[in-house]
Amino acid sequence: MAATVVSPPARHRRRIPWGEVSRWAALVVLAIITMAPVFVMFATSLKTQVEIQALVPRWIFMPTLSNYETIINQYRFLPFLISSAVIGLGSTVITLLTAGMAAFALARMNFPGRGIIAHTTLIIRMIPPAVLAVTVIGFWIAWGIGDLVPGIRFTLPNGLGRGNFLDGSQLGLMLFYTALNLPFSIWLLYGFIRQIPVELEEAAIVDGANLFQVLFRVIFPLMGAGFAVSAIFTFRIAWNEFILALMLTNRFTKTLPVFASEFIREEGVLWGQMMAVGSLIVIPPMLLTFFAARQIVQGVSAGAVKG
């Protein structure tokens, strides 16, 4: 509609559409500004130390995988990739499942306490990881709560000096990443469930299904789009988060952002290795961006455009 309204009058049709050209030029410039820093990271990760420290930036160089070789062979990259993947995927699955169940109850049932639970989740949703890190870690150490949480356990590496004081139960981090993502996911899925006609559920109940069957067989299969948005945002936090991971993992279970930060040394930054880890960290979110940009925009604007 709007497109037909603002199209130029007919007599201008033969001329060069300068407005259009300048808009496209602006878009290209913006795209370059947006992508250039990421491109520099990829390029730097493929350079040798000598090329990185050259005083004249080299745009043409012979790419080498030596930085990747170093981080994989010398710094044991793989265990941390696995740790990151376990924490990222684990948090995502737990978030979707628990948020889906909670959203179903909030969207379809009326019960005492509904308002309190609903508003509490909305009010505490912005609590940052730093607050959790500060108030949790003391007790984890003092009370050894990490020992009570089953999970992959290693001996406590005391005095590591990098801030990784805690034993590395990945379940601990998953708990916090799930908690940080639940409010957003519950309310996103709530919106999706409310769009499903309630007659479908009533029909299933008439056919003798119980509520769990209604949720898992009727509702969840219709929620692919909602789950996709929610999964992307949960994975994004769990995969990228740094402060809690720095505090709550040890030298065996640290995640990739923590691993990357360790190339900032007293004696300087190991740029090549750091850029290689950085490049590997951004690959999964970049793939998500390529395949699901629409869903990401939907999630970003979910809170803003409604209401």
Partner: protein, 303 residues
């Protein structure tokens, strides 16, 4: 839907348990710890009850208020720049973006990149010796010497208090302007076509359309974007931690970084919990304000 009255709680139990353990217990700990003096790594029995001493200290602590001021300076510039650039671009490029989904993909990218990686990329770009930015500034300055007085020369970006602040502002604007852009774009695309048509037929030009029709209709969305950006300013920590670590001196030590350093550098958990409480209260207040404009409970079909 009629059900057994315990069923709703059964469905809510896992989520509520995780939220309680993961968010409410830490918040409660923060309240409790703020009454104690408790050093990092000490046994719980070594704590010392202080009453309201931590709060008194907080109110009179110049370093905390300096970091609040730093947060405001940082927040003022990033929110202003991101809103102006984001809204401006959305209005100017609304038509062009419609036809180009790859643009959306590119603009989404910065939002998905790990803050640690954003920090390390910008730290590298702004590096005084090897940084690309310094190199080209110097080159341009040497080619056109009159520009040198305007800053086209080697700058110690992350080692100078003012430039370090400029640096973290630049990285934040780079990462978060697309967020404002996309929210406003979604809002523009949701504007009713018949209203736009009517305004156009009434002889409104682009400027009038924007100023008198589109922006007023987007008022709510603009407010929500603004509030979300303000909230994120108070949460921002990781990029600054990697780029400057709060330095040089304490010139980029925002409130959340002051919290982090009080806990893990000064190892003063009781006082850190008090700062955490301050930060939580600020964020909860903003969350409540945000709820007034965007409340998922208040959709029309409710009940």
């Amino acid at each position: 839907m009629r059900t057994n009255r315990f069923v709703p709680y059964l469905f809510l139990l896992p989520a509520v348990a995780i939220l309680a353990l993961g968010l409410l217990v830490p918040l409660y700990n923060s309240v409790m710890l703020s009454f104690y003096d408790w050093g990092f790594g000490q046994p719980w029995s070594a704590r010392r009850f202080l009453g309201f001493a931590n709060f008194q200290r907080l109110v009179t602590d110049p370093t905390v208020w300096a970091s609040v001021r730093t947060t405001f300076v940082f927040g003022f510039w990033v929110v202003t720049l991101e809103m102006l650039i984001g809204v401006g671009l959305a209005l100017l490029l609304e038509k062009a973006v419609r036809g180009a989904s790859f643009i959306r993909t590119i603009f989404v990218m910065p939002l998905m990149i790990a803050p640690v990686v954003v920090g390390l990329i910008w730290r590298y770009l702004l590096d005084a010796r090897n940084g690309v930015i310094n190199y080209y500034l110097t080159e341009i300055g040497e080619a056109l010497p009159f520009l040198q007085s305007l800053g086209f020369k080697t700058q110690t970006w992350l080692a100078d208090p003012t430039l370090a602040m400029v640096s973290i502002i630049v990285s934040d604007v780079w990462q978060w302007t697309p967020f404002v852009f996309m929210i406003v774009l979604a809002g523009l695309q949701g504007l009713p076509g018949d209203v736009m048509e009517a305004a156009y037929i009434d002889g409104a030009n682009w400027w009038k359309m924007t100023w008198h029709v589109k922006l007023p209709m987007l008022r709510n969305i603009l407010l929500i974007a603004l509030l979300m950006r303000i909230i994120d300013v108070f949460r921002a920590l990781e990029v600054i931690f990697i780029m400057t670590g709060g330095g040089p001196g304490s010139s980029t030590r925002v409130l959340s970084l002051a919290l982090f350093q009080t806990a893990f550098t000064s190892q003063d958990l009781g006082y850190a919990a008090t700062i955490a409480l301050l930060l939580s209260v600020i964020l909860i207040i903003f969350s409540i304000v945000l709820l007034l404009y965007s409340n998922p409970l208040k959709d029309k079909a409710d009940f």
